[in-house]
């Protein structure tokens, strides 16, 4: 019984952490979404994103996820999906990239502490995530209207 109580308590602590980070993140995203600079970042990254089979609405979730972690990237993905900016294919491809490659800085540092090679770990994970996403984007063509 105490185990269940402890688990619930731990879960609630995790949930409050999520609230503390995701609510401000989504708020900032909503405010900045209309600022011209951010729209031009979206246009600039479009060619890169197209290689991954993704549109510009996936830029922000992707980079949030790569650096901050999957839960925070997911927070933004849920928003983009709810406003109809991402379709099922984009949701899956963004999810695929982030599932294999997220919170890279924290993850890599954990193993650098044990004597691992940070450059190899970071490079290989990014490379594999890119290859997998590009491959699947080719196999699963965008619906032409």
């Amino acid at each position: 019984m105490t185990a269940l109580l402890d688990a619930t308590l731990g879960g609630l602590i995790l949930c409050s952490k999520l609230v503390l980070i995701v609510v401000p993140l989504v708020t900032i995203f909503e405010v900045l979404r209309h600022v011209r600079i951010f729209q031009s970042i979206g246009s600039r990254t479009e060619p890169v994103m197209r290689c991954l089979g993704l549109g510009r609405s996936a830029v922000l979730p992707l980079f949030t996820g790569i650096f901050l972690g999957i839960a925070y990237g997911a927070g933004i993905i849920i928003r983009s999906a709810a406003t109809g900016q991402m379709d099922r294919r984009e949701l899956f491809l963004t999810g695929l990239f982030l599932a294999t490659c997220h919170a890279v800085i924290e993850d890599v540092l954990i193993f650098v502490v044990l004597g691992g090679d940070g450059v190899v770990m970071l490079g290989l994970r990014l490379l594999l995530a890119i290859i997998l996403t590009v491959l699947l984007a080719r196999l699963w063509p965008r619906k032409t209207i």
Partner: protein
Amino acid sequence: MEITEKEQVPPVFERLRTGMVDGWWTVFRMLKFVLPLYIIVDLSKSSGLIDSLGSWCAPFMGLFGLPGETAFAFIAAALINLYAAIAVLAPLDLTPWQVTQCGVMMGIAHNLVLEGGVLSSTGARGGILTLCRILLAVIAGWLMMGLQWLGVAG
């Protein structure tokens, strides 16, 4: 580049308000998955599941050129998180290349239950994505063992 879509831009105050409301809505959507899964994962820690799964997997670690004890770290990473994994990994006497190999493999496949739930909450197929992670971790492990065998690294 010209902006083609003429979306009505609401005032900052309005955007702050929508952001807050949407933020809470987003979090609640995630919590439906995260809270129950966290409780399940936390309870599995004391159930001995990691030990039994670990000893079952240990003989297979040789396939990746890793000692059998690392299986417990892999299971801990997959079910809990990377911090639990390095606690198991640290006392083992691994070469720097083996640590790097574990880092890549566990970096790809960790905290699968909770993160699978988070991925599902976005509307993507969390189960399939999790399967992809496990497969990619296996491929990465073989790739890195191959690199070492070829003498390219390690």
